[in-house]
């Protein structure tokens, strides 16, 4: 038996998420899929598991071309997927979760399901109390429950998408044992990750995807250096950094503790000077967003001190942060920044500091025309937010930043933008440095981090893993650090 992926194409609007992906995985292998954020791994896995259908190309299992138009088709064909957040129904018992989705007669036979659950889970070496509520299980146990269910349903291929996020070290070891065990029994295990160490530990073979294409395939072991180089591509950056500003700290975090979801950050210290740009690097979900949200006032530190320009904002509300001169540009442009169905003019009215009760639409349209011109937004004053392209949405968001800002918090400010738009965005942002604005910007783009930051903070697994002056590091080192390894 082998799993063959043949020339898969999938695009979303202008973005080619999968651009002709082909590779083959043999029976009984533990195969790593590596790639940075946005490389196209998740899209490919969603195609394999029936969540998306490919624009073209085939998935071939054991010589059969599969028709994967829904997750049910994929499971019936023997492909099961374990999501990063295991899809478990929390208010239901372990037994009901197990029995759910089983093909069979209408009547639910709980006794039969119970004995099947016991049989399969003991084969896998798991132990469950069938009557417990799934909500009381740890993430690791929920994974085990999902694995049990997929094996019972006859999965021959199991896909694990970032399975080590949010589980304990012991559970990780146990999970790895399980994965090896599954592979020994002849299953194909696809392990999707951007953590180099885990792939080195676990996998027999590896495929690296970059920008929707397969760029590297090999049997393990492979030098980590080679993997990093293939994941990120060669990063050449001409660094022409000015002197790092060392003025009074605009933002000061002392011994801050942050808790949100599965991320716990402890003992975080950070000072950002007026006019300084600090880049936040790391895999998605490593703690960058939590830090940005805390600085914005959307998440209150459980302990420590957060000061802006000498004013204590540790316990202040989000609106107090705004009033103190903090401006946050979240990653979701249409979800967290703009409002669908509302025009450019209306957005600019919302952003303006004019609070008169009646809106002078004539004047508003005129000033919108000026901003459109000024920020080269491709759109009319009456265009609504969702009609704009990503780059123009970002330009509109830039136009909506108030004139005087002390701290700008950016999350993936150039994600999905072409080179020209990205450069434009940064020109506008950097222009604010001269008035003393401090900038903290999270990005997955190493080139961008190196080019525009003064300092770079690398997060790994919810911790600050390393801090580097941008002038003294390079793409290769960042690649290592992001994967949780020091360069050797």
């Amino acid at each position: 038996m082998s799993l063959e992926i043949r020339d898969i194409y999938k695009h979303f609007g202008p973005v080619r998420a999968n651009d002709g992906i082909s590779f083959t995985v043999e029976e009984g292998s533990l195969h790593g899929i590596l790639g940075e954020n946005g490389a196209g791994k998740s899209t490919l896995m969603k195609i394999l598991s029936g969540f998306y259908s490919a624009d073209s190309g085939n998935v071939v299992l054991d010589g059969d071309i599969l028709d994967l138009s829904s997750p049910a088709d994929a499971i019936a064909a023997g492909i099961g997927m374990l999501h990063q957040d295991p899809l478990v129904f929390l208010p239901m018992t372990v037994l009901d979760n197990f029995a759910l989705g089983n093909p069979g007669p209408v009547r639910l036979n709980r006794d039969e399901a119970r004995s099947e659950l016991e049989r399969v889970s003991s084969e896998l070496g798991f132990e469950f109390d069938p009557s417990r509520l799934a909500g009381s299980l740890t993430i690791g146990e929920r994974q085990q429950l999902s694995i049990t269910r997929l094996i019972f349903l006859g999965a021959k291929v199991l896909i694990f998408d970032e399975p080590t996020t949010g589980i304990s070290a012991t559970q990780r070891l146990q999970l790895f044992d399980t994965l090896r065990n599954l592979a020994e029994h002849g299953l194909i295990v696809l392990f999707v990750s951007h953590k180099l160490e885990e792939v080195e530990d676990l996998c027999d073979s590896v495929t690296v995807i970059r920008q929707g294409k397969v760029v590297f395939e090999a049997k393990m072991p492979v030098a980590a250096e080679t993997l990093v180089e293939n994941m990120f591509g060669k990063v050449f950056v001409v660094q022409d950094h000015e002197e790092i500003p060392t003025g009074a700290p605009m933002l000061w975090l002392a011994d801050v503790e942050l808790d949100e979801g599965t991320t716990h950050i402890k003992g975080l210290n950070l000072q950002v000077a007026a006019g300084e740009v600090v880049g936040l690097a790391g895999l998605e979900g490593s703690g960058q967003r939590v830090l940005l949200r805390a600085c914005a006032g959307l998440l209150q530190p459980s302990s420590g001190l957060l000061e802006l320009d000498g004013i204590d904002l540790t316990k202040a509300s989000y609106r107090a942060h705004l009033a103190s001169g903090v401006h946050y540009l979240p990653a979701g442009r249409l979800e967290e920044g703009l409002v669908e169905g509302i025009s450019i003019t209306e957005h600019l009215v919302l952003a303006s500091e004019d609070t008169s009760f009646f809106v002078d639409w004539k004047a508003a349209r005129k000033s919108a025309e000026k901003e459109i011109d000024d920020y080269s937004i491709k759109g009319r004053p009456s265009s609504s937010a969702e009609e704009l392209s990503g780059g123009n949405q970002q330009r509109l968001l830039l136009a909506m930043i108030p004139d005087e800002v002390k701290l700008l918090l950016l999350e993936h400010p150039t994600r999905g933008l072409d080179v020209e738009s990205a450069a434009y965005v940064w020109t506008r942002l950097l222009a604010r440095r001269s008035q003393g604005t401090a900038i903290v910007s999270a990005s997955a783009d190493l080139d961008e981090l190196l080019r525009y930051s003064d300092r770079i903070i690398v997060f790994f697994g919810g911790k600050v893993f390393a801090v580097r002056d941008a002038a003294e590091t390079d793409g290769e080192e960042l690649g290592y650090l992001i994967g949780g390894k020091e360069r050797v």
């Binding site: 967290e336 409002v339 169905g341 919302l350 609070t355 009760f357 809106v359 639409w361």
Partner: protein, 349 residues
Amino acid sequence: MTQSLKVTSTLVAVGAALAVGVLLLLAVGAPPLEALWLLVVGSVGSASKLAITLLAWSPLILAAAGLVVTFAAGLWNIGVEGQLIMGAIAASWVARSVSGPVWVVVPLTIIAGALGGGAWALLAGVLKTHGHVHEIFGGLGLDFVAAGLATYLVIGPWKRAGVASTSGTDIFREEAWMPTFEAFGVSWPVIPVALGIASVVFVWLLLRGTLFGLKLKAVGSNTYSSYIRGIPTNRYLLGAFAIGGALAGVAGSVQATAFHHKLVPAISGGYGFLAILVVLLAGFSAVAIAPIAFFFVAISVGSTQLDLRLGVDSAFGGVLQGVIVLFVLLAGGWAAKHASNTLTPRKEP
């Protein structure tokens, strides 16, 4: 979605709904053309019929105008029915306890209605913003409480001297009746109609011309973005509830002081729920609710003739209204799907 596609689909939907209506009439053995003609004659066929239709139009348009505001804020104000009832109760309380000249008492009943409906809506709003009870459930619960309270008052504390009957309280003193204008031998409900028109103009201006309206729209379309933008979202949601409830409450005061001249258990006349259908059909537009509400009450008022002349139960009017709304919504959904299939590429979820 293109305008022409929208208009075509709506026309097709109304046509299909009428076809279903005709089939239903055939099924109960009534001559369809005569029945439809009776609907027209029974609602606008004479001055007196027109006056009745206009009196029914007023509370419906007031409640619908209020709903346009709550819908703009993204709220499903199912509690509108209860807000209307509470407005009627508050107006009845004033009508029963305040005596004075008509130009003092009637304005007071209107203000009381607005306060009663607004307060009841704010209750649903606070349940949503501070108790995390979805406004559909909170509103529905409060509808039942308000209806219960009206019945309790009618057969309890406010019962007619000597008899407790669900037929209503004592008739209000005439100084608490909304004055009418006599012409062509008919009493025209001038004040209710003026209130209805004013509510439409008010809501249209509020949503089109003011910063408040714009922020309300932003909160309704994307609460999280609005919050990030620094808009106090809860305050705007509560504001929308208060305005929507106040207008529904005025509708209730019209029902009490212009139509029944007393409090009855069924004081709302179902206009709250009917107003939801009107607003859905109008595509949430303040301007479009006026003619659509008129069309709806014309069917309601006209259908009483079906009972008298053809022996078809007057509930037929309600059936026809429901079918029209369902078909129009169906057509809207179909048109939106059609438009998204052809014009925009599928977005990554």
